[in-house]
Amino acid sequence: MKTRTLIGVAALALCAGAQAQKSTADGIAEYRKMLEDGNPAELFEAKGEALWSQKRGPKNASLERCDLGLGPGVVKGAFVTLPRWFADTQKVQDLESRLVSCMATLQGFDAAEIVKTPFGRGEMANVTALATWIAAESRGMRFNLPQSHAQERITYEVGKRAFFYRGGTHDFSCASCHGDEGKRIRLQELPNLTRNPGDGIGFAAWPAYRVSNGQMWSMQLRLNDCFRQQRFPYPGFGSEVTIALATYMGVNAKGAESIAPAIKR
């Protein structure tokens, strides 16, 4: 009799715990929904769109002839095929490194100078705004990165190895947080990026507006801050590892719908 009562109490306590947890999740979902209408990423989209056609740089030219992989000037649909191989640069490039190449060749900017610029400043802020607009032009489209060039396949394999590479003071790799289903850091769900995490999740959500600091985060900055939190040294902008990781995540996300630019915590 006494045991039964105890079990009853324990069961009640368990239920209460489960309920509280559910209402937290519901509350957070409600909060996120409220923010969707009026995503400040729109401000950066508008800036990026204007920058694309504006004559700028030493050559006083626009970016309208920039080839993002689908031919000069084709923007719609380009985002969901990047990173990919570019014959002119003889490199696999992501959206941001490709933009820097275009800014150098078409507008005459110094690529090395842009790459050195901190996020959110000068021409780097412009690269982010451009990437935000270009991503928005593929909103609702599905990821389909080409893997036909040998270098694209090699880049994927390098990315996979970089994803699992443990190091730093805390022994973290990308996989420490993003290698399993249904995990969280604090209240943030962690997508499993070793496979397709689903529509609008992970790779298919960035660039995103970060609510916590009011900044527009490109994929390069997203990766940069992942490495910071991993306690790794500083990854170069457009470095081989960042392109390889983007290729790994992008290929894994094949078929996932892009919602970028999203709004994030």
């Binding site: 009026g38 400040p40 508008a46 009011g214």
Partner: protein, 103 residues
Amino acid sequence: MADPMRIRAQAAGDKTTVRVLMSHEMETGQRKDSAGKVIPAWFIQEVTATHNGKTVLTADWGPSISKNPFLQFVVKGAKAGDKIAITWVDNKGDKRTDEATVS
């Protein structure tokens, strides 16, 4: 100069919902930079909304409105083609006006 606002004004029946995003730091004046120096307050203080040139709303804001502010309100009697203009002025005297057409 400040970046442009994004204004969406959508009519449904005799009401028009206006959604505005403004590009602004909204610095509280209570934060410190990495060197420990207080970052001076810098925020939008006054917002004015007009419908075809007539003021329909004014607002006074403090620094606790979020960075890149969002504002939503409903104008009575506005119809497609009408003009909605928003002006903000910040505590440094910087000012910006943008206009949208009701759709």
